[in-house]
Assembly symmetry: C4
Homo-oligomer: 275 residues x 4
């Protein structure tokens, strides 16, 4: 991997473009990122307003114009990103590459396909792009620490979630038998849904126990849910206490734009490019 | 206890079978565990789908066939477990032994008893068997740490839960007098149920205070519940902070299949068998 | 205070009685406490069942008999406590002395007063007596640690609660203006009640915002409530981390039965009696 | 800034007045603060009662009298504050200066403007003034520690809140497509409102999923919300653990009344006045 690194043969203007688009250390890079974040937020707002029926009826023309405006802007941006990355294909199939593509496809697809209803949600994926912009602020140092703490605790949290899922399946099934179909617990899956609503202390009230035994059991589930919230909290707190003591690194690979390299890494761990 | 250990006289193929079924260190043991976990999850899904009335009406034959298939598979597994353990009776009356038995009994009982409705839930106990499979992944190291932290904090959490139960009894009774039967607080047990729903911040809304004094008291209970959630969280966090520093052990006893031995243990602390 | 201590002139059988009733170190003391806890729990259950109208109609005679049985038992116990304490008046006006009195008064009052409805709740105060019994188990060591942690954090939690109360008053008033009386926010106190229900994540749904601005504001309050729960949790966790490192003391004063003395205390800090 | 400090030329009685009104170290200052806190709490209670229609109808005269009484008291207080501060204009445009002004304006405005409905809320801002009184109790030491812990964690909590907002936008949009307008998810903004209600475990139940897929997705959001509450809790706990080890300072600047100075500060960091 390391051998194919083509740093030398890469033209200077593409390196410059890479710096502006992918990094946030230069003034030009920051202006680019700021402009992009504004466009992204505005385009997401447009999609939201498009779903409000009264608003869509009143302002359908301007929404359509804005939609195409944002699509063109993001298409240009997508093209520039492909242009200045050393390995375009690798970028195109990366998480952010796919998100960038999905944020421009719906508008083009709407030209050939009639039902734009489902495309609406795909357009919403644009907001995922905001994560990319987070590099702008040095919030990212904090985000890295949080991510590392959550990574360190993911196995313990996984065990906890497994226990929670097991609990709601068993308790939900028990309530199905105790309350029965006449009280809204029409099937085991629906009873499990109720158990999740109760254990997590959400408590919609669309399904609620009515028998004495059911209410007693529900009270038990609530106190259980109230007490075991302490478990993930304890896990994450302890891991954060460890994670916040170590320094972080926020270099982006110039070849494939990947991040998350170790502090002492000299080469990208995803493509072997020199950092 | 230690004297009756019959390690020497135990035939090699039963030791081998014990290794495959009860341990997860060998490739054969892992394949066995993986197959078992798939069967367990599928059988639980069958029981769930069986409770959905539309699905049961449409696919009753296939559900019945699958139920008998899983019953036969689990019966064979139960027989093998009894065969390869040195003390079958001790295994049979252990927690997992009973769960294994309960997961095959319902189908056989349905041949002689008519009402299968209540057997449905017993069948659900199958999911408890998944805990056994957890050995497969080395998640168990994490599970042990969590269990130890929870064990260390169980007395403090017990004191907390006792205080919570006392609080909901007193506050629920108070609300019964304040709101009265005409506002849904029809008896003290039901008012206590409401107090649990409120203190744990679940809040169904099936019973809600309507008088001014009742709403004032309810607001007090909510803020109380919102604040005292900090208590179990603090307890568990502190104990986890201690527990995560010690190493763990996940050996299973070849004689009685018990786990939870200390790191430096040479013999099973439950049956005296050599580990 | 210290001068009036009458340890010497106190008769031996009253000292013995004090030991049985107030301490839990001797076998006789433990049996007394165990018997008392059973009576207390049973008497509370009676009061609860008495509030369930169907049960009261069916078993009114037995409930009345049990009520008088428990009243007589607790009256004897109250008399013995007064007898064996060096300063009966001080005990009688202490928290537990008042609770003990309140748990026997309602039955006697019901002989002269007609409306027993409100006396029902006073009878419920009996459950407070269970705290006294907690000495029985050495759970009390844990309870002391928890109490000390909560005492150490009470000022910080007080500041937090003050901020929460201020927030719900301001946000509730704002919602009163935004939603108005036609959407269920009929007055500022009721809007504040709604704000408490929302900020503490209880969420009954009996009052819910219906306007767009109201829902936006409600979403803000929810995220706020979701985030600031971290504050008391953090406070209590840090204080517990400190408190769990120190030893505790559980001596009861032989003169006034008060507890909570410092580790190095030689005299009771409430009455000056020698410990 | 520091050069314009006019400490010497300031008359003694205004220094004395400043001491009484702005500081809480002298007996006179404490009495002033105590009187003020009582007035503020009473005036807020008046505004609240004024919003209860039955109460307003029955006691409109006394409410009007009290409103004017508090307005006059607060006007005098506002005048004295302006008088004894060295730079009145700086105080007038500070946060507390504006709050003080807003708490007296509504009554005067009601003389010229008819609709007092919206002025009601502005009057509620009076409660913000209570923060000023907090100096009275040395609770403020604790408040400072809490504020510092929250300040230290504000960037990490900001990252967390950003992720939460992103999540509710994406999940809300998804639910809009899954459940559709016929099940109450009438637009993306309303679906996002529902996602906030669910993720924060509030759970009103005014909008609840009805399709199987919607309920499955909702269960996922609930468990997610139940687990990620650990993140802000962990952040704040770790920062508090650090913050509680440092001493705090609660001096108010005699020139501009600003607070929050460092322990070793000799001059106000906002206006350069000598502390």
């Amino acid at each position: 991997m390391n051998i194919e690194s083509r740093d030398e043969s890469f033209s200077p203007w593409r390196s410059k473009l890479h710096e502006i688009i992918f990094e946030a250390n230069t003034p030009a890079g920051r202006i680019f990122d700021l402009a992009l974040i504004i466009f992204i937020v505005l385009s997401v707002l447009c999609v939201m307003l498009d779903s409000v029926s009264e608003f869509r009826a009143a302002h359908s023309t301007i929404l359509r114009v804005l939609e195409w405006f944002f699509t063109v802007v993001f298409t240009i941006e997508y093209g520039l990103r492909l242009l200045c990355v050393q390995r375009p294909w690798r970028y195109a199939i990366s998480f952010y590459g796919l998100v960038d593509l999905l944020s421009i496809l719906p508008a083009y697809l709407s030209l050939v396909i009639a039902g734009t209803h489902y495309l609406l949600v795909v357009r919403l994926l644009r907001i995922l792009r905001i994560f990319r912009i987070l590099k702008l602020v040095n919030y990212l140092g904090e985000a890295r620490q949080l991510t590392r703490a959550l990574m360190a605790s993911r196995r313990k949290v996984g065990v906890f979630l497994f226990v929670v899922v097991t609990l709601v399946v068993i308790l939900g099934s028990l309530m199905y038998v105790v309350e029965g179909e006449q009280n809204g617990f029409t099937s085991i899956p629906r009873s499990i849904y109720w158990a999740v609503v109760t254990l997590t202390t959400v408590g919609y009230g669309d399904i609620a126990p009515r028998t004495d035994l059911g209410q007693f059991l529900a009270a038990f589930i609530m106190i259980l849910g109230y007490a075991i919230i302490a478990v993930p909290t304890g896990i994450v707190t302890v891991e954060m206490s460890n994670a916040f003591r170590q320094p972080v690194d926020n270099r982006a690979c110039p070849v494939c734009a990947a991040e998350g390299h170790d502090h002492n890494a000299l080469y990208c761990k995803f493509c072997g490019g020199q950092l």
